[in-house]
Symmetry: C2
Subunit: 241 residues, 2 copies
């Protein structure tokens, strides 16, 4: 009951839905695991995908601290890739092979409900990415996967990574809205917490298999979020679309 | 013959088509004339639209020269609007009326061939805006008009207006391409010249009625452009789509 009242308020006030991408809209783990195991049989794709992703936060932290200048995610992914290849017996990969493998982040597959959910949500709301991924990566991904964005917003535009307030408030500013008229949709509580502290609305999406079937994620509701959804089609249901 | 050889080369090498918007994809003159004459009968909508647009280059020049700090087009449009309203007997408009009228730039109608041409071009190419208009304006316009962009690039992202090289080269950089793999599509020779001098391919679109039926524009071919097209569907024809 409480949830349906909030959903109705959100549907009345929110104009823009901003989506986290990696893990929320696309299945980075499953996509990377499948591609690595296809290209390099015998490599543990599950461990490889998680090792690559685990390197991501420390790499972004080096940029946020000023140790590294502004760096695109494509370049951070490549730095991490070069670091982990020896651990998986792949240090013999040459430059074209490394470049190709690094591009897998442009070729991630959507979760099964993503295209259908976004298509329904787009009928009423402006739907945009809000990702630490760079604009080219997000555009290539969307074109391949059929993600029907109205707009592609990225950390690259705000020259700051989430959870920097400049990113969340940047979305509201781009559309000349108050923060409360914007909602972040994400599968990560820390991302949603960042948005909430800037005054945005928040919707959590359960993605229990984000890290693979061997590492099921706790997707318990967090009382701070406005909405808790099992999928993007569930979000569309809750918002009456 | 020469044209078809160039078109074939372009189709083989270019990956991203970047579109100028005002005048090339949407009919700013006709849209503003119609809205002004509907809202304020008796006002000369043709003259009003052109007066508003004529103020645009000097306003951008004040930003480029540093006289004004970085300013969104929405705000430049508003400055010019406030200047011209007295000339049309509309100085009595209150703040909400001025804000609403300024928003007409978000409500411009596409030329008749735009949606069909873009939809065909999108099958093979990544299609993006490259406009001095701000991201919010371009996104609102696209959503209303059904313009199926893969990406929304704007002067707002590069913090420079066309014809600053940072804008044309910015598109290539976003997609990690060489300039020659990117083509600017525009109805203005000076915009195309800026792109050409940065190494981009260029396609000119005839829009003889850009300034209204009373002010027919010379749309003669310029030999420097790779392609000369009567419309966006003609561009799709020439590129074999």
């Amino acid at each position: 009951m409480k949830n349906s009242i909030i959903a109705s308020e959100v549907a009345d006030t929110v104009q823009v839905l901003a989506f986290d991408i990696f893990g929320t809209v696309v299945d980075w783990h499953g996509s990377i695991q499948a591609e690595v195991e296809l290209l390099y049989p015998g490599v543990d794709g599950d461990a490889f995908a998680n090792a690559w992703r685990i390197g991501y936060r420390p790499a972004m932290a080096r940029v946020a601290s000023g140790e590294l200048g502004w760096t695109l995610i494509d370049d951070l992914h490549r730095m991490i890739l070069d670091q982990i290849l020896p651990d998986f017996g792949l240090n013999h990969l040459d430059e074209p092979q490394r470049q190709h493998l690094n591009g897998v982040w442009h070729r991630l597959n959507p979760w099964q409900d993503s295209v259908a959910g976004l298509t329904r949500l787009k009928r009423k709301f402006t739907i945009t990415t809000l990702s630490n991924g760079n604009i080219g990566l997000l555009t290539n991904m969307a074109k391949r996967a059929g993600l029907p964005w109205d707009c592609v917003l990225s950390a690259e535009i705000f020259k700051a990574y989430k959870p920097d307030p400049a990113t969340y408030l940047g979305v509201s500013k781009v559309f000349n809205l108050n923060p409360v008229q914007t909602m972040l949709v994400a599968a990560h509580h820390d991302d949603l917490e960042g948005a909430r502290s800037c005054g945005l609305r928040t919707a959590y999406i359960e993605r229990s298999l984000e890290f693979g079937a061997k590492h099921v994620k706790n997707v318990s509701p967090h009382p701070g979020n406005d909405l808790h959804c099992t999928s993007l089609t569930d979000l569309a249901d809750q918002l009456g679309l």
